[in-house]
Amino acid sequence: MTDLSHLPGRATDRLRPVGRTTGEPVARPRRRFRLPFSPWHLLLAPLALLFAVPLIWLGLSSVMSDAEINRFPPALWPSGIHLGGYRFVLGNAMFPRWFANSLIVSAVAVVSNLLLGTLGGYAFARMRFGGSRVLLVLMLATMAIPFQLTMIPTFLVMRKLGLVDTLGALIVPSLVTPFAVFLLRQFFLSLPRELEEAAWIDGCSRLRVLFQIVVPLSRPALSTVAVLTFLTTWNDLSWPLIALNHDANYTLQLGLTTFRGQHHTQWSAVMAGNVITVLPVLLAFLAAQKTFVRSITSTGLKG
């Protein structure tokens, strides 16, 4: 904020605490020369616009005609909505396939992370078995292993399993992540034990207790796992790049990178493909924004 301390005002006004977001509104003394809005907007608005412009340009260019894109300087606003790019992309033999492949891999990953993560997380949170502590620590430690250390041998493992160049090679490693197990374990630990104990003592099996009592209470944690799993599998490029050879098996992300080379002149088609690639995560993010931001900030990140 510009320094207003020279203006008349109560002393306490200058000492207004920073970092406040909650709490009661502060009765501000009137000042004489005040902007009708906070001066911070002069900094924030252009910056936010700068962050938004590439994505806006992505949307705009995907509905431009190629003539508009290819002339120099390119048109900054489409003359109308030209769907040629989208028509080209969706009529392309491969593109819908890539989309389906991405969707299959992500959907399997989400479902399986929820299921296996729930089972594993519950066992670690509530059940006693030999070696559970060591196992948990070991699983957590694997989160620190960088991808490039495992990528070559994982490829070899997949080849041994006969999965290279199939969607299986993408599905198997993403079936369950230590993150899902750990996050759900933490959440289950926070639930009151008594709820389950009553049912358990009445003779319910662990599995029934888990799916009839614990799971319905765990919607926030489960949706966090679902959203983050979807985001990472949908967006992954490096592993599909290594594991797949034939373009019929490509995912959307991988297809997009080859698409550019093939249709170098047809930028509207490339941008239309890009919009279709970005849209699902964008929608998922906007739909689950609250959960998403909370999950990012709360999943063990805050020390």
Binding site: W40, L149, F285, V293, G303
Partner: protein
């Protein structure tokens, strides 16, 4: 529940100790059934590959024919490889620029957005959205915007009367442009994390400091920043690790070029293993990076522990 008549064949009541033990054993069996799929996938696809990778790094392997044990040769060769040296240099430059800039910018924006300000939710969303866009999509989008001939960026420069730039096709600029793209997508993450941390700064501390006559910058320096220090350490660690591992964006935009100016370590590893079919050599390079990451993490752990102790000392 209505009571059923006791059947005549009812088994003799078990001793409590025996039944508890049996129940414990059954419980353990169920627990193992629950965790086994996760354990197989997670440990099977991390511990095995990590050890395998270590073995590979001492071998000559093209991923097809049986590999040959070569001892430290791969590592020795790496030490003399100018391309690897360049990859290390590029990775370090990228990290040294990206990490402090993203954290600094993130902190500044979070401090501003943490004030009672209108539209702060909208601003936060706009800053964060690029973070969910995949590196592939980012790469394709920015190759388009920054295309030296047809791109919108040069068109804009042209309108402003500035000379056109080469951007990703200019060896002197490419790495910097990649840093800029990463800042576009990665700053929002820091903002969100810092915003969450700022919510946790105890109001009483700030109010006490203000009552004691501290000015705003003093509060920031002596109350806010120390309280969010653990988050800063976390971000430092997180951003450094992701910067040292950058790959997707490079693959999509420049493929390591022009003239190797954007070849980073992971790209080098990938190229060796899957393009040149010298997997052992690639594995050795990966191990060099892995050890570097370990050192970073361990170093920050130490710093963090020391800070924790200091903080504890200050409050007790």
């Amino acid at each position: 529940m209505s009571r059923l008549p006791t059947p005549i064949t009812r088994p003799a009541p078990r001793t409590p100790a025996g039944s508890a033990r049996r129940r414990g054993r059954r419980e353990a069996a169920t627990a193992w059934a629950f965790v086994l799929p996760s354990v197989l996938v997670i440990l099977g696809l991390s511990v095995v590959p990590v050890l395998w990778s270590l073995l590979l790094s001492f071998q000559y392997s093209d991923l097809l024919t049986p590999s040959v044990w070569v001892g430290w040769d791969n590592y020795r060769q790496l030490a003399d490889d100018p391309q690897f040296a360049q990859a290390v240099r590029n990775t370090l430059v990228y990290t040294a620029l990206y990490v402090p800039l993203s954290i600094g910018l993130g902190l500044a924006l979070a401090l501003v957005l943490n004030r009672r300000i209108r539209f702060s939710g909208l601003y936060r969303t706009l800053l964060f959205v690029p973070f969910v866009v995949s590196a592939a999509a980012q790469g394709v989008l920015f190759s388009f915007i920054l295309d030296p001939e047809f791109g919108a960026a040069n068109a804009l420069l042209h309108r402003l009367g500035l000379s056109p730039q080469g951007f990703l096709s200019d060896p002197a600029q490419a790495l910097l442009v990649l840093v800029a793209i990463s800042l576009w997508s990665g700053t929002g993450f820091c903002v969100v994390i810092y915003l969450a941390a700022l919510q946790d700064v105890p109001r009483e501390l700030i109010e006490a400091a203000t009552l004691d006559g501290a000015e705003r910058r003093h509060v920031l320096r002596h109350v806010t920043l120390p309280t969010i220090a653990p988050v800063s350490v976390f971000l430092l660690l997180w951003q450094t690790i992701s910067a040292l591992q950058v790959f997707d964006l490079v693959y999509v935009t420049t493929k390591g070029g022009p003239l190797g100016s954007t070849t980073v370590i992971v790209y080098f590893v990938w190229e060796q293993a899957f393009r040149n079919f010298t997997a052992g050599y690639g594995a050795a390079a990966a191990y060099v990076l892995g050890v570097a990451l370990l050192v970073v993490a361990a170093g920050l752990r130490l710093v963090r522990r020391r800070d924790d102790r200091r903080l504890k000392g200050a409050t007790s």
